[in-house]
């Protein structure tokens, strides 16, 4: 057990910071978020998208990268690129990735920009090459570009993987993206409330405000450590639980951050929306907090209730996980 960063992890973070200094992510124009292709290229060239293929230490490093890129508002699907990329696009880290659940024709993050679409089924996940005509962009203000992709694509899959593996890596990536954005939002709040004066006092000096920020800080630390441990273990329970916890925290942070930052927080010049609207979007991906919790519950307690198929990827898995988790 060692919860301090080791030399390799510090080195990865330093490389990432150097890279972000050269390719500083910009606060996206409201409602016009787009893939930051130069940043994706730089991350790939810097070897920062291939780490998760290198065992538990590699996955930990990948989690650190995901957290930092998301915290900095990097406009790439960093969770999928860093956690799923080494699985579905091994050796090709530059290929941009979108992920969706099978049979769901919902808005999918980066679907109109991605080269690869990972479709998570109940027993297996399939990977398809995407053409621009496959995606129908949706109008949205939630921090990322979204598009719908038809349930049936007019070409064969180029790869097939275990659904279990793809799901847990998707959840790990999401957990990291959400903890990064949580961290960015909290840092904004602390800075703003330490400066903003009302009633002749800094707002951050009021205990009512301090306690709410402290609660958010505890939640962030909890989410971050659950995600780190889940990355290290690569266990399906841990990944689902980390994704659940981060998604639940993300929803709460979106509301709490805007409550605490008042009218100023809603202005585009403040920039808070870059984290909060992304948090909201991320909290819903893959089915959202309740869905992640259903998966986790089925994996932790489900088999004893006669749902042994939960690990195997039976057709009933996802329905049961969400709708009918047994005690």
């Amino acid at each position: 057990m060692d919860l301090d960063l080791n030399a390799a992890e510090k080195s990865v973070l330093q490389n990432l910071r150097d890279l972000l200094a050269v390719h500083p992510p910009a606060v996206p124009v409201y409602g016009q978020a787009a893939l930051d292709a130069p940043l994706l290229d730089a991350l790939a060239e810097g070897g920062l998208l291939s780490l998760a293929g290198q065992g538990s230490q590699g996955r930990l490093q990948a989690m650190l990268v995901i957290h930092e890129v998301s915290r900095a508002n990097g406009m790439v699907a960093i969770g999928a690129q860093a956690m799923l990329g080494p699985v579905v696009a091994a050796g090709h880290p530059r290929r941009s990735i979108a992920v969706k659940r099978v049979s769901e024709v919902v808005p999918v993050r980066f679907a109109a920009q991605a080269e690869l679409l990972v479709v998570l089924g109940t027993a297996q996940a399939e990977v398809f090459e995407l053409a621009p005509a496959d995606a129908k962009p949706e109008s949205t203000h939630y921090g990322y570009p979204f598009a719908r992709v038809d349930a049936a694509l007019p070409r064969a899959a180029i790869g097939r993987f275990s659904a279990e593996l793809i799901l847990r890596r998707w959840q790990l990536g999401l957990a990291g993206e959400m903890t990064g954005a949580l961290s960015g939002a909290l840092a904004y709040l602390v800075t703003y409330l330490s400066q903003r004066e009302q009633f002749d006092r800094k707002l951050g000096a009021f205990q009512a405000i301090q306690h709410r920020l402290s609660e958010l800080a505890v939640t962030l630390e909890a989410a971050r450590h659950l995600a780190l441990e889940a990355a290290w273990s690569d266990g399906p329970e841990a990944a689902a639980m980390a994704a659940y916890y981060a998604a639940d925290a993300a929803r709460k942070m979106c509301l709490e951050a805007h409550q605490l930052s008042g009218a100023q927080g809603f202005t585009l010049e403040a920039g808070l929306h870059a984290w909060t609207l992304r948090l909201h979007a991320l909290s819903l991906e893959a089915g959202g907090a309740r869905w992640h919790a259903g998966v986790a519950a089925a994996r932790i307690w489900g088999s004893a209730g006669g749902h042994a198929h939960v690990v195997g990827g039976d057709e009933a898995f996802y329905t049961d996980a969400f709708e009918n988790t047994p005690a």
């Binding site: 057990m1 919860l3 080791n6 920020l213 659950l226 639980m241 005690a327």
Partner: protein, 374 residues
């Protein structure tokens, strides 16, 4: 970073579990941690632990320990709490009273106290809170006035656990306007009166300690006069995560879900979410406690990590309690039932070791560096 345990650490956990199964009556392990029946049990159990070298493994060899890593002690603490804390009040001895004496004690104090703590045959209580000085510990008024080679102690301490069984009190007193001093006071000293304060905690008994012209030798003072804050601050940082409540709460959660299942019940998706929320809160509390252990392992002060860890522990206990009382409904009203025990231990969780609100204050100041209040 590395979230794994070594083979030695894994084996150590297994050995402790086996030892607990062999040595403890099942009913004892079901008791809420800290219950009074533990006084005798703890003397017997801690003696056996000591003979295995498992009471103070993390202490230096010269004081009866084996110099084991703080991680071994973390494993030990988790397994003890999960089993209902059979060390009783002695968890305080080994967690922070002994270490405080190791750090600040005189040669004579070390000789007198450390061997007994390491053998597991002595009970202590802590004299911290006063009626007007609970969360605001700095407002304490119990005084120790120097007279020659002695101190005269006057005042009152309240809400003290284990006082009627304890041989010694780790007592905080005021020795000057801004100075606090610590005394290691035998409870048999003339002038100390111990009364039970009736509470809704039932078997967990708390007391009022009255000190009327209690005369103790100056040699009973721990550390310098007026130098108590530094010692107690360090000791309390261990105490914040000294009770790994998440380890037992997790077991309670699993057991109650099994009870529901045995009755043929099923969980709604909403309840599943709460069960995962509670489990995740336990996991998070475990990891954030490890952050504090990490500081110990590397010889650093835990700093604000201790307050974050403590807050996470309280959240975990409450999340589990909240769910299990809902699941067992009216059955949770039955005295001594699993949900009754969990609910009541969760009520006190946010107070012992410093109130939850104090942890939030300290996180604001030391973690987030927010501006000071008026």
């Amino acid at each position: 970073m590395d979230f794994g345990w070594s083979d030695t650490e894994r084996q150590f956990r297994q050995d402790i579990r086996q030892f607990i199964r062999a040595e403890l009556d099942h009913n004892v392990t079901d008791l809420v941690p800290g219950e009074d029946p533990y006084s005798q049990t703890s003397i017997e159990f801690c003696g056996k632990l000591a003979s295995k070298g498992w009471l103070v493994p993390h202490w230096p060899v010269e004081y009866g320990g084996s110099g084991a890593s703080p991680w071994m002690f973390a494993i030990l603490s988790e397994e003890m709490w999960a089993a209902g804390e059979p060390r009783g009040s002695q968890y305080m001895n080994v967690n922070w009273i002994g270490p405080a004496i190791i750090k600040a004690g005189s040669a004579e104090q070390k000789r007198e106290h450390l061997n007994r703590i390491a053998r597991g045959d002595v009970l202590w209580c802590q004299g911290f809170s006063e009626v007007e000085a609970g969360s605001d510990l700095a407002a304490m008024k119990t005084s120790a006035r120097r007279e020659g080679d002695s101190y005269i102690i006057d005042g009152e301490k309240v809400w003290t656990s284990y006082a009627s069984k304890a041989e010694f009190c780790f007592l905080l007193t005021r020795t000057s306007e801004s100075g606090i001093s610590i005394f290691l006071v035998p409870m048999s000293t003339p002038g100390i009166r111990v009364e039970v304060i009736p509470t809704m905690l039932d078997v967990h008994v708390i007391h009022r300690l009255t000190f009327e012209r209690v005369t103790v030798p100056a040699a009973y003072r721990l550390g310098e006069e007026d130098g108590g804050w530094n010692i107690v601050r360090d000791a309390l940082s261990d105490e914040r995560v000294g009770t790994p409540r998440f380890a037992r709460a997790e077991i309670v959660l699993d057991r109650v879900l099994q009870i529901v299942r045995d009755k043929g019940g099923s969980l709604s998706s909403g309840t599943s979410v709460r069960a995962v929320e509670a489990r995740a809160a336990c996991n998070a509390a475990r990891l954030l406690s490890y952050k504090v252990r990490q500081s110990r392992a590397t010889g650093q002060s835990a700093g604000p990590d201790a307050y974050v860890g403590r807050a996470a522990i309280v959240r975990a206990e409450r999340a589990v309690a909240d769910l299990v009382v809902d699941l067992l409904a009216e059955e949770s009203l039955v005295s001594g039932s699993i949900a009754d025990g969990e609910f009541r231990t969760s009520m006190i969780a946010g107070l012992g070791g410093g109130s939850y609100e104090m942890q939030l204050n300290l996180i604001s100041r030391l973690w987030l560096n927010l501006p000071k209040g008026a």
